[in-house]
Subunit: 338 residues, 2 copies
């Protein structure tokens, strides 16, 4: 077997797997944002018809998986694997949503980088001959994340200016060994990067060095620069983290200002919706990818897109114990040509 | 690319990856158990020299990874990926242990099935040409697990007779595209199975149907029966779960009594150590595999071994909300011959 590693952390897929179908769902805030028309479903009820927010989050994943299967014209039994994870303790958003589907399941934890991790592993499983069809999925919910990481929403805590707003959203991509694209041509696996940031309300700053590290490795391995992509898009660095990332590349002599965007700044209207530094959460990059971005690629708005979701691998316990915030970023290249 | 799926949920590796090195570490209880002589390191201090139990758990992972690398004669930079996860919220046992290594990292959450999940994905990444060397790793710690899932240890809560004792242990396997074995020849990915058990203190009963489901799929796909293995070993079903699994197979007309064991019943002396239903935790099957089992295979005690760690995908939140306990089991075949 030829080694498909082409350089630091990066593999080139021999037979680039195709996006077969994709779906997303969002909540009330997402319905008021600039990308509202790119959602398959928007729900004004934060409980999504359930009794708890955690069950609501599972319901979101159930819904996007069912929608993606329907769009693909597939039955759950045709999926060889589902690769999924979320921010909830023990990833119950994924495990409880998947109970009824009977699909072989590999559970992931990559914090807000999960959409990238699931696509990367899914693409490799297909390219390696281990699967014909794989679903990659994740979610986040503002109310479950606030309760778990910060304060229960009913407390009405004041938010720091650097804080981001966890998206109430979910996204699912079905990948296949054949299809009409876009295709995943390369994946770059991130390393954990920890620059010593201890402010859990400034996750953009904690994650930006990880995005820099992974993107640098990706550009080096693929002999590309930002200009070789129609769009380079990070997951949820937000206003501050995006600035830091562009600064870090400026110091390397690389101009990221022309075709770089961040899902955390695309999902909401930061000013009008009073969103401070932007959106965050696994569901942020997942819902932006599985709506705005992939639809844009299908409509040929972009031919080559580098999708780089970022994750902050902290927990409330690690922060209480004085630890800094380790970051990670996985990058996936989508191309309309194989 | 030839599809390597040979039947339900199961793939046959084209060039079975080899175990290159393995290492384990345990705590005080493990040092008093029957497998003590199969540990690389045993520490009487539950803090492992750290200030908190969570940092102790990260330290265990650091130590086993360093030991495994040393045994393999490798540097961390030679690993293409590390696949790791643990029971702690947001898997901080893994992410904080890996900060200093600089190895590309895919984080997993499979509860106590994590050792199986990491080996399965690692073997496929190597066989698919995406990696030459991969580390698969996990851990658990009695005190971090009690605090998080049940009650802090200092409360002195009484334990139910069906309760299991979370192992304070960690294990790491380094897999490579070449080596002297044992080799991973097949992997079977589990589905989530939930039979409606709601007692979080009886996880063996919750996980046994998942083990039954995965093993049945494995036997069917590989046209084997338990008798084709020198040993079939589950992760941490414990005394009750093991009985249930054997019962389920008895109903299928399959005799599991002759060569079946459970890591949860091997790690401790249940009577003498007052361990109720046995050991549990990601570190249970991980430390039994990466000591007793793999050493036994290298010493030719067993030629073919089916390793099937089981996970209970619950969280305290899901239990508080009245949910049942979903189980999962991943199976990995080790063989001394390629």
């Amino acid at each position: 077997m030829k080694n498909k590693h082409i350089g630091p952390q990066t593999v080139a897929l021999a037979a680039p797997p195709s996006v077969v179908a994709f779906s997303n769902i969002g909540g009330k805030m997402e319905s008021q944002g600039p990308l509202a028309s790119y959602f398959d479903e928007l729900c004004q009820d934060s409980f999504f018809g359930q009794k708890t927010w955690e069950k609501a989050e599972s319901t979101m994943q159930e819904k996007v998986l069912n929608r993606a299967l329907k769009k693909a014209g597939m039955d759950a039994s045709q999926l060889d694997y589902v690769l999924a994870g979320d921010l909830l303790n023990q990833c119950i958003g994924s495990s409880f949503s998947l109970r009824s589907f009977g699909i072989p399941f590999y559970g992931l934890y990559g914090a807000c980088s999960t959409m990238g991790e699931s696509l990367a592993l899914g693409a490799m499983l297909i390219d390696g001959g281990f699967a014909s069809f794989v679903a990659a999925m994740t979610s986040s919910h503002f109310c479950t994340a606030e309760r778990q990481y910060r304060m229960p929403v009913p407390y009405g805590s004041q938010r720091s200016p650097t804080a981001q707003w966890t998206a109430t959203a979910s996204g699912c991509t079905i990948l296949g060994h054949q299809g009409d694209g876009p295709y995943i041509t390369h994946v770059t696996c991130g390393k954990i990067v920890d620059m010593g940031i201890t402010d859990g309300n400034n996750m953009g700053a904690a994650m930006a060095p990880a995005a820099h590290d992974t993107l640098k490795a990706h550009f080096q391995a693929t002999h590309t620069s930002p200009q070789d992509y129609d769009l380079v898009v990070t997951g949820d660095l937000g206003a501050l983290g995006s600035e830091i990332l562009m600064d870090l590349f400026r110091k390397d002599g690389i101009d990221m200002t022309r075709n770089y965007q961040d899902c955390g700044m695309l999902l909401f209207d930061l000013q009008a919706q009073d969103m401070h530094a932007g959106a965050s959460g696994c569901g942020c990059s997942a819902s932006v990818l599985n709506g705005y971005l992939l639809r844009g690629m299908r409509e040929k708005r972009w031919q080559r897109l580098l999708f780089c979701p970022t994750g902050a691998l902290l927990s409330p316990t690690s922060s209480f114990q004085g630890e800094s915030v380790p970051g990670i970023c996985h990058a996936v290249t989508f191309s309309t040509e194989r």
